[in-house]
Subunit: 338 residues, 2 copies
DNA sequence: CTGAAAGCGCTTACAG
DNA sequence: CTGAAAGCGCTTACAG
């Protein structure tokens, strides 16, 4: 059983292949093909289950309809679900995704960009790591469409979509303050990544706005690539040496995971003895406690927005404007304790 | 900057494109092209950084050099690292991978096969779910190369590579028995998947071989899609109602994760009060205890073997023989407790 | 060894 | 609206 080609459809319809092609590509009107004929051709296409030969189209048009997705670490649940959402959104718009992780290594990032370029992707979706500025600039210079996600690189005029990190922490902090917690600690990563800085800013400014003094000893920074044991130890000691802490805001899901273990070690009850909020969820939380409140990123929305911007860039000569910087609203999720 | 084509190289070398193509495809000898000329052409290719246009090659040869990988659940660490290894192995042999998960749903599996077929993959790597027999048979009938991984479907004569599940559990059981544990429990999934049945068989037969009676009350089966809370509860109750248990073999890493939480709840010390072995590792284990012994699958070996079989099928008219059923030796990893 | 040519399955500019 | 044709970048059978 040979696959049907556009030529076969043309023969069946008694027209020349060009006509079928025009109908297929929505240029029927433009080419003044009668509605009647167009409808007949569409029916034949449908009946035959004809699908254009992707490779042939690519060769002819120079477009692969493949987008490259570079995330920081695909084994991290957050990036995994982001990748999944991106894939679904892209697929529904007729694009495919090739993806790979930088493992936070700019060298690897450079290599991946080269690989994707060789695979002739039409555009790039990137969660950038500091150090990738030049590579991303190169793409832009070569007129390759790029959209950043999850974070951006200050100084690069590239479209991006990410959660409003500042607003997310503010939302969580106000929830904790509303519950009556007074000495709220903030556990974050020791990194200059923009999204982490914005989260820290959210913590500090919400306190200030409520007339509460920011105590630097209540902000604990965990080295970026700590081993779990070390991170747990550090958080444990932090909790022990600040016995007046009555709530903790964990700035990432991995920190939350380590933090929950530390809290368990300390024998503290959540939420009676210590309130906990975490930015991003993790399956594992349910192993520890039902009583953790989550700041949830609208991952599907972020994915869809990023994909739509990229495709606009690709298809509509959309240009970068102030509207190319999209912040999505995070959500506060209170886990029921049943 | 336009990309260089085969034609450009031919012009530079003062030969006709065919000649370059022959050199490129290792047919220089066969076409009696002098070593000298071939070398000159190779040098030009190198110097120009020429890369064949993948799309054009595909269109001409009808081969995409893309393999479809269908795993059960890409968010599971085991499948994620399998996918990564597969990707690396394939890439080094000049193939790319498109992957997707069935989420253990045969309907989804069918849909994915259709999708991959439409994307014109050259071959399929599948971790089959019961219920996919027909779809896989269809592929075979249509002469599509298929290699199964991680498990196989009894009754389907398809090549596969997987770990020797029976030997893995035997290895672990003998380790526990050697340490002097007497009442070893086995916690597994309530499923008919072949790899799980083989693990159970490994448990039972090792006991028998050592003259120890198999006590069915020491085998606990957790429903396939339990929520973490429920699984933890079930294991906890199992431990409580069998106080003579002095060691537990967890048949999967997820079971181990739930099990460790249950053991912690029960206040039992590992390994003094209870020995623990788990089939497959999980990052999270380190949060609970360093003293867990792992039966490790040689994932890279499995990946490489599967890829090589598939490519042989594709390129060398390799046919299915007894040697197409490959079992890889698992490894016992004892975590140091420091 | 070389050359000329066909063709993979499409899209699109051109002439009518 | 229709037809004839070129061409995307390759590979390969054919004739010399």
């Amino acid at each position: 059983m040979k696959r049907v080609s556009l030529k076969d459809i043309a023969k069946q319809a008694g027209v020349v292949p060009s006509t079928v092609s025009f109908v297929l590509n929505g240029k029927a009107k433009q080419m003044r093909i009668s509605d009647e004929l167009a409808e007949k051709i569409r029916a034949l296409i449908e009946a035959a289950g004809y699908q254009p030969h992707h490779t042939a189209v690519s060769l002819r048009t120079g477009k692969t309809k493949i987008l490259g997705l570079i995330v920081e670490d695909i084994s991290n649940v957050f990036f995994a679900s982001l990748a999944k959402s991106i894939e679904d959104a892209a697929y529904s718009l007729g694009y495919r995704i090739v993806y790979c992780s930088t493992e936070n290594d700019p060298e690897k990032g450079k290599e991946l960009i080269r690989m994707l370029t060789h695979q002739q992707v039409d555009g790039y979706l990137i969660t950038p790591t500091p150090g990738m500025e030049n590579d991303i600039n190169n793409l832009i210079k070569n007129n390759k469409p790029v959209v950043l996600m999850d974070r951006f690189l200050p100084g690069l005029d590239v479209p991006f979509t990410l959660v409003d990190n500042y607003a997310g922490v503010k939302l969580g902090m106000e929830h904790l303050l509303g519950k009556g917690y007074k000495n709220i600690a903030f556990v974050t990563l020791d990194t200059q990544q923009i999204q982490m800085l914005q989260r820290e800013k959210g913590y500090k400014e919400t306190l200030k706005r409520h007339g509460i003094e920011v105590r630097n000893e209540l902000i604990e920074k965990i080295p970026f690539k700590s081993r779990p044991e070390d991170a747990i130890k550090q958080v444990s000691e932090f909790i022990k040496s600040n016995p007046d802490i009555d709530a903790i805001f964990f700035a990432t899901n991995y920190l939350g995971m380590y933090g929950l273990e530390s809290i368990k070690k300390a024998g503290l009850k959540i939420p009676e003895e210590i309130g906990v909020i975490c930015f991003d969820d993790h399956d594992i939380f349910r192993l520890f406690t039902p009583a953790i409140t989550i700041i949830r990123q609208p991952i599907e929305e972020i994915a869809r927005s990023a994909i739509e911007m990229l495709i606009s860039l690709l298809e509509n000569n959309y240009t970068v404007t102030a509207e190319s910087h999209v912040y999505k609203k995070p959500e506060l999720v209170i886990r029921s304790s049943t």
